[in-house]
């Protein structure tokens, strides 16, 4: 067993850290206030290969792995959770094509997404189908080599600026989850409409809209996998996505704790620096310990995936633990900083708001518990 990152991963970590400090930190608060993701930042994320980390160089990707991707998610989310989310969902869309696309689909759709030219989004959740994906009401009907798609997706992250929409619709309602299929829809398709940004508590800079499909026609060659593979495609992507969300939670917590520690070393109360009180020291030590535990679980899940092992329950446990941890840690960090922690001038309140969603998206904590219990054969 080796708990050290390889030199190559350390080099990547340096890139992610340098990039986040210089490119994201100066604009993170403004992006949150204006609820707008910077297109300039998106361009730079693409330019330096941060949007194609775990994808093959054969398709123009960066040729890294999921451990590298989770290092990136952590470093970026230390500074800004919304940027982490934007990268994570893009990656989710890419992995659907990477896992199930034909060679022709990979060349046509995956390549531009991972070589830095286009951005993807992932549309599964509907107003009436959240954790229960089988409740899909979107429909796709095949006629003469073309599917006609109708339906409405909600909370589609990145949809405000995405070029490629990976979306799920029922091709055979009678088969339940086995009747779901996955489709690739391109921006500008007639009948595809993206609504206004949904106003949220956290990760406010990310684009998150309702997307409606009204008689959107796509060629049959835009279907990923076979008819009925949709649920499998979505679940496999989400299994991997959870590693990224766990890393995002670790980053949010570590970023908040770093701020709180810095503050505690500067701020004096009762004639002493806050950091000199043993109560603060014990609190900080506990928080760091929990962050580190979550980080180890995240790295184990990523390494399992990179080694081709079954990682589903490792990823679920990492996300379950890390997302709860992040909420606790960010809340405690606000408390350590008192009134200033609560102020928007400091980034810790933003981390606390951003952390909440990690317990909800890409599978709620309750869904993670179902996955873990299922893997334990506790029925």
């Amino acid at each position: 067993m080796d708990f050290k990152l390889s030199k190559q991963h350390l080099l990547q970590q340096k890139l992610y850290r340098d990039f986040a400090e210089a490119e994201i930190r100066p604009i993170a608060q403004e992006m949150d206030e204006t609820e707008t993701f910077s297109m300039d930042l998106l361009g730079k994320l693409h330019k330096y290969g941060l949007m194609g980390i775990p994808f093959s160089r054969a398709y123009g990707g960066s040729g890294g792995d999921y451990l590298g991707f989770s290092l990136c998610m952590e470093e970026v989310s230390k500074i800004d959770g919304a940027t982490g989310l934007t990268m994570s969902v893009h990656s989710l869309a890419c992995s659907c094509i990477d896992n199930f696309g034909t060679e022709e689909q990979k060349q046509r759709f995956l390549r531009p997404l991972v070589d830095g030219s286009k951005t993807g989004c992932f549309g599964l959740t509907e107003p009436n189908a959240g954790s229960d994906a089988a409740g899909q009401q979107s429909k796709a009907v095949l006629y003469h080599d073309k599917y006609t798609i109708n339906g409405t997706k909600i909370f589609t992250t990145n949809s405000g600026f995405a070029d490629t929409f990976v979306m799920f619709a029922m091709t055979d309602k009678s088969k339940g989850i086995r009747g779901i299929s996955a489709f690739l829809v391109e921006k500008g398709a007639p009948g595809l409409a993206v609504g206004p940004n949904i106003r949220r508590m956290g990760v406010r800079a990310s684009s998150n809209c309702e997307v409606s499909y009204e008689n959107v026609e796509v060629p049959a060659s835009n279907r990923l996998g076979k008819e009925g593979d949709g649920f499998k495609i979505a679940m496999k992507a989400l299994d991997g996505g959870r590693i990224g969300i766990a890393a995002q939670a670790v980053g949010l917590a570590q970023g908040a704790l770093n701020e709180a520690v810095k503050y505690a070393k500067e701020r004096k109360q009762f004639g002493k620096r806050i950091s000199s009180f043993q109560s603060s020291q014990f609190k900080i030590a506990d928080l760091q310990t929990r962050i580190d535990a979550a980080r180890l679980m995240t790295h184990r899940a990523a390494a399992a995936r990179d080694n081709g092992e079954n990682y589903s329950s490792h990823a679920a446990m990492a996300k379950l633990f890390a997302s709860r941890m992040a909420n606790d840690v960010c809340r405690e960090c606000v408390q350590l900083m008192g009134g200033y922690g609560y102020c928007r001038e400091y980034p810790v309140e933003r981390a606390l708001r951003d952390a909440k969603i990690t317990e909800i998206y890409e599978g709620t904590s309750e869904v993670m518990q179902m996955v873990i219990a299922g893997a334990m054969k506790v029925f």
Binding site: K7, Q8, L10, L11, Q12, K14, L15, D18, F19, Y48, G49, L50, G52, I53, R57, G61, S62, G63, G64, G68, C72
Partner: protein
Amino acid sequence: MKIVVCIKQVPDTSEVKLDSKTGRLMREGVPSIINPDDKSGIEAALRIKEETGGSVAVVSMGPPQADFALREALAMGCDEAYLITAKEFAGSDTFATAKILAGALGKIGFDLIITGRQAIDGDTAQVGPQIAENLNIPQVSYVEDIEVNGCALTVKRQFEDRYHILEVKTPCLLTALSELAPPRYMHVRGTVEAYEKEVQTLGFEDLAGTFDPSCIGLAGSPTSVYKSFGKKPKGAGEMHKNLSADEAVSLIISKMAERHII
């Protein structure tokens, strides 16, 4: 054009803190970085390569850990990397370092050598010009802009009160200001490929005959550090925390008057 960039791995001195009690440097946990002026030199070299073709090699003399700085340079887009390392080289001052580097550069071959103006740990700005002297080629230091026209370079050379536009022919050596070219980030793909490439190591034996062995290392260096130390904190002055602006102003005025400043 074959461009060789010399880089140094340095501690990020802006993160170095002094222990106020002992006056010692606290170097623990201080990250090692590519010296900023050198990194600007890498960027300038990559831009020349992108515009006019050729190749960029990167060279560092240092302990084996300097491999990491070379990998970063590869990940930014450099084609080749050389690590110059040997126990015989340890303790070299700038005079001796320049001898070794000049020997290595002669072996590697070059049209243009770029070094940073100075390293942030030593701040001497000496190694670049001394390499040029050892190789008997022209140097231009404090370079803020480079334009390539065949084997002639037009460069902007900065001074305190003026700049020169100079023309210099290759082979030559330029020392880069950090203003020369704000460096790019590594590319993620570059970080992967950096570890698929080989960093070539040049040791004492490899460079035999390129310099006089009595002129290198601790023993061959003309200068040596006699002592290093911290400054004693200046005796505390007076400090006032709760003055109104008007009170503060009168106090400042009286102090200035006392010292005949006004």
